[in-house]
């Protein structure tokens, strides 16, 4: 048994303990302990101290390392944020009765427990090399995150969770079909059903089966990764989920599904005919996703849905870049890192705004700069980062992608890419500026701000913001800013290594 199983199993254990724990305090401690332990394990894996004993199940190559560290980091940020986000148990919610499963009625216990199951599932899907095992991991992420979306236990979250479960499960079932076809593409029994194991047989792979397998897997996992037109579950799920969960769904989960597609592409890249098809499909899905999200971000009335569509856009940018190949592959991986950092901070900030104003409607919120000083400044910084404005890392990656498009004489694709980026920028600018600028708060006739359930205003009219509410966004946004100015040598090296695995060039 490989030591790697430990990093997958211990979150399940702490998760089960969390489910059965009465005390909110102990659950909080478990949540943090679990994420810190996970970070320690991740550090060991990234330093190369833990490696899989055989090739058959896991791999810890540069690609896995990038996505594993992202998952671990984002999970730590989200669990810190969840500490203030989750209110203590309500009366009558305490766990004591085991025989009729009443512990499942405690919202907080289920949420925190499922967060840890979710972490375990994401780790499994990122670390697994065996295609079957990876499928189990990706499907498990869906199952573990459905209760997170249903946390508020009302009609809307139920609808969102049902759509999420049905659409993603169907998509992933198609991907399983693709995995079976992939096995058919290999003429003989392979020793390892992994990207590297199959690449050894590159010359003997059967093109037609490989093509069918790739299409099934791209559509299947693409549903989970949020590519348009299979993205329909995404805006609902991301806007209805509590903010720590939205941050994880958007920043970490979409990447896991993307990695699953990249693993299959790794095999396809060995066969020129299939690679050509794969690259064309990547570009097509990328541009369609960018176009659709651009249209829906314009005049979007709900700011959490706007962030969700922005995730569709960024997944589109990444897959478009993978389709261009060459140095764009490295740029796409760099973009994945920056996008995860920025988008998860934005979802956390959106959670702060939601908890103060109690509404997700853009039109009802203005004057954030005057009421929530920390949140609003970060919110504007996040806007600059997510739209790819110069000092941030996202600008670096988006610019490098454009450069590759022009250099490889794909002028039409480059022009469309630029057009959609501008479209999103304009759409977001209106929304962010409406929210941040303007008068303080909508007041009712008695001079009380509308929206506050229990107005907790200070004398100067600002809202109290708990440090845990903005510390993670500060750190993440600062990291995105730092990466835009200077990429540390080890980070650059690992990105280039991962890019080489996918047949791309160095950044």
């Amino acid at each position: 048994m490989s030591t790697l199983w430990l990093i997958i199993l211990f979150p399940i254990l702490t998760g089960i303990v969390t489910l059965f724990t009465d005390s909110h305090k102990i659950r909080k401690i478990l949540l943090i302990v679990c994420s810190v332990l996970h970070m320690v394990f991740t550090a060991f894996i990234c330093l190369g101290s833990i490696t899989p004993s055989t090739e058959s199940w896991f791999c810890t190559d540069a690609l896995s390392k990038i996505f594993l560290s992202l998952t671990s980091l984002l999970y730590f940020g989200a669990s810190l944020y969840a500490l203030t986000y989750l209110k203590p148990d309500e009366e009558g919610e305490h766990v004591s009765d085991f025989h009729d499963l009443s512990f499942l009625r405690n919202k907080n216990a289920v949420f925190m427990g499922c967060m840890q199951f979710f972490l375990s599932a994401m780790t499994l899907s990122v670390l697994s090399a065996h295609f079957g095992l990876q499928w189990i991991g990706v499907e498990a992420t869906t199952l573990a995150s459905t209760p997170l979306i249903y946390h508020h236990r009302n009609k809307k979250s139920l609808e969102a969770a049902w759509k999420y479960l049905i659409i993603c499960s169907v998509g992933i079932a198609l991907a399983l079909m693709g995995v079976f076809f992939l096995a058919m593409a290999v003429p003989t029994q392979v020793e390892f059903f992994t990207p590297r194991g199959l690449s050894k047989f590159a010359g003997y792979l059967r093109t037609d089966w490989l093509q069918v397998a790739f299409i099934f897997i791209l559509v299947g996992y693409g549903t989970k990764a949020g590519f348009a037109p299979m993205h329909t579950w995404l805006p609902d799920a991301h806007s209805e989920a509590p903010s720590p969960a939205s941050a994880l769904l958007s920043g970490a989960l979409l990447n896991c599904a993307l990695l699953a597609i990249l693993r299959v592409y790794q095999v396809c890249a060995e066969v020129p005919a299939v690679q050509a098809l794969a690259l064309q499909l990547f570009i097509l899905f990328g541009l369609v996703s960018m176009a659709i999200s651009g249209i829906f971000i314009m005049h979007q009335a709900d700011y959490k849905r706007m962030l969700a569509y922005s995730s569709v856009e960024h997944m589109g940018i990444m897959i478009f870049a993978f389709g261009l190949g060459k140095a764009a592959t490295a740029a796409a991986l760099f973009h994945a890192i920056c996008h995860s950092l920025v988008k998860s901070s934005l979802f956390m900030l959106a959670g702060n705004i939601l908890s103060a104003y109690q509404t997700k409607k853009v039109e009802k919120i203005h004057g954030l700069l005057r009421t929530m000083p920390f949140t609003s400044v970060l919110w504007l910084a996040g806007f600059l980062a997510i739209t790819g404005t110069p000092p941030f890392g996202t600008f670096m990656s988006e610019f490098s992608i454009l450069k590759v498009a022009v250099e490889s004489r794909n002028y039409l694709f480059g022009a469309l890419y630029l057009l959609f980026l501008v479209l999103v920028f304009v759409g977001m600018l209106t929304i962010f500026s409406t929210m941040a600028l303007g008068k303080k708060m909508p007041m009712n006739s008695e001079g009380q701000p509308i929206g506050y359930k229990d107005p907790e205003l200070r004398k100067d009219g600002t809202v109290y913001e708990h440090p845990l509410q903005y510390i993670t966004p500060i750190v993440f946004l600062a990291a995105a800013l730092f990466l835009g100015c200077y990429i540390p040598e080890p980070v650059l090296q690992i990105i280039n290594e991962a890019s080489a695995i996918l047949g791309g060039k160095a950044l």
Partner: protein, 235 residues
């Protein structure tokens, strides 16, 4: 093998034409049983691992899940009819069309081998029927049934391609599917409580065209200030 494939195709056709939900559930349970014994007759011998897989499959797909869906149906006071968007006659006709499409796809795919596998056709057919059921039926319960049929199709196709993975992976896949439909079952109870119906065509709160009325959420959205007060008090 061939006779089981035929039976599988027939159960799916029957499913498309049946108007009563309880009958549809029984049909899917029977299909689960057929899927369960498929590995036993597909010529892998009777090793312990094959037996365990078959037993787990039968228990999950033909006993546990149908039982849960039946419970969900009993609890819901709604009409026990399938309520399709497309009439049953048209559904069966589409089913026959889908069967031809499956046959055509399989003959194209396996043209090099020169053999047309009937269970692969059945696999594709179940996959298409599952998708068709999910799309054209109004009730959430029917969608869960459709998903089960779709999964059965993928499983059958995988088995007939002979691309079996190791025992642990097969078991993991079965477990994932089981938990997935189990979750759907739990949510069916909740949908019934929240909406007084299990129709998905009345799922219209979330869309980009009309914004959800968030005042409803007020009771449920967290109240941060309160918690912060308590924390400060503790200090």
């Amino acid at each position: 093998m061939n006779s089981i494939a035929t039976l599988l195709a027939l159960t799916s056709l029957f499913l498309l034409g049946s108007s009563r939900l309880s009958l549809a559930i029984n049909m899917v349970a029977f299909q689960g049983f057929l899927i369960g014994i498929l590995p036993l007759v597909s010529g892998h011998g009777f090793t312990l691992e094959v037996l365990i897989l078959a037993a787990t499959g039968i228990i999950m797909k033909s006993i546990a899940l149908p039982h849960m869906l039946r419970k969900a149906l009993e609890k819901s006071g709604t009409k026990r009819e399938v309520e399709p968007y497309i009439s049953f006659g048209a559904s069966i006709l589409s089913g026959i069309l889908l069967l031809f499409v499956s046959g055509w796809i399989v003959s194209r795919l396996t043209q090099d081998e020169g053999i047309v596998s009937s269970s692969l056709i059945a696999g594709f057919f179940l996959l298409f029927t599952g998708l068709f059921t999910i799309i054209t039926r109004k009730k959430a319960l029917t969608q869960a049934l459709g998903f089960l049929v779709l999964e059965n199709g993928v499983y059958t196709a995988g088995l007939s391609l002979g691309s079996e993975f190791s025992f642990m992976v097969e078991l993991g896949i079965l477990l994932d599917v089981f938990v997935g439909i189990f979750l759907m079952g739990i949510m069916l109870f909740h949908i019934d409580n929240e909406f007084d119906h299990i129709d998905t065509d009345r799922f219209d709160a979330l869309s980009d065209l009309e914004l959800p009325d968030l005042e409803l959420l007020n009771g449920n959205v967290l109240n941060l200030d309160q918690e912060l007060d308590e924390e400060e008090g503790a200090e």
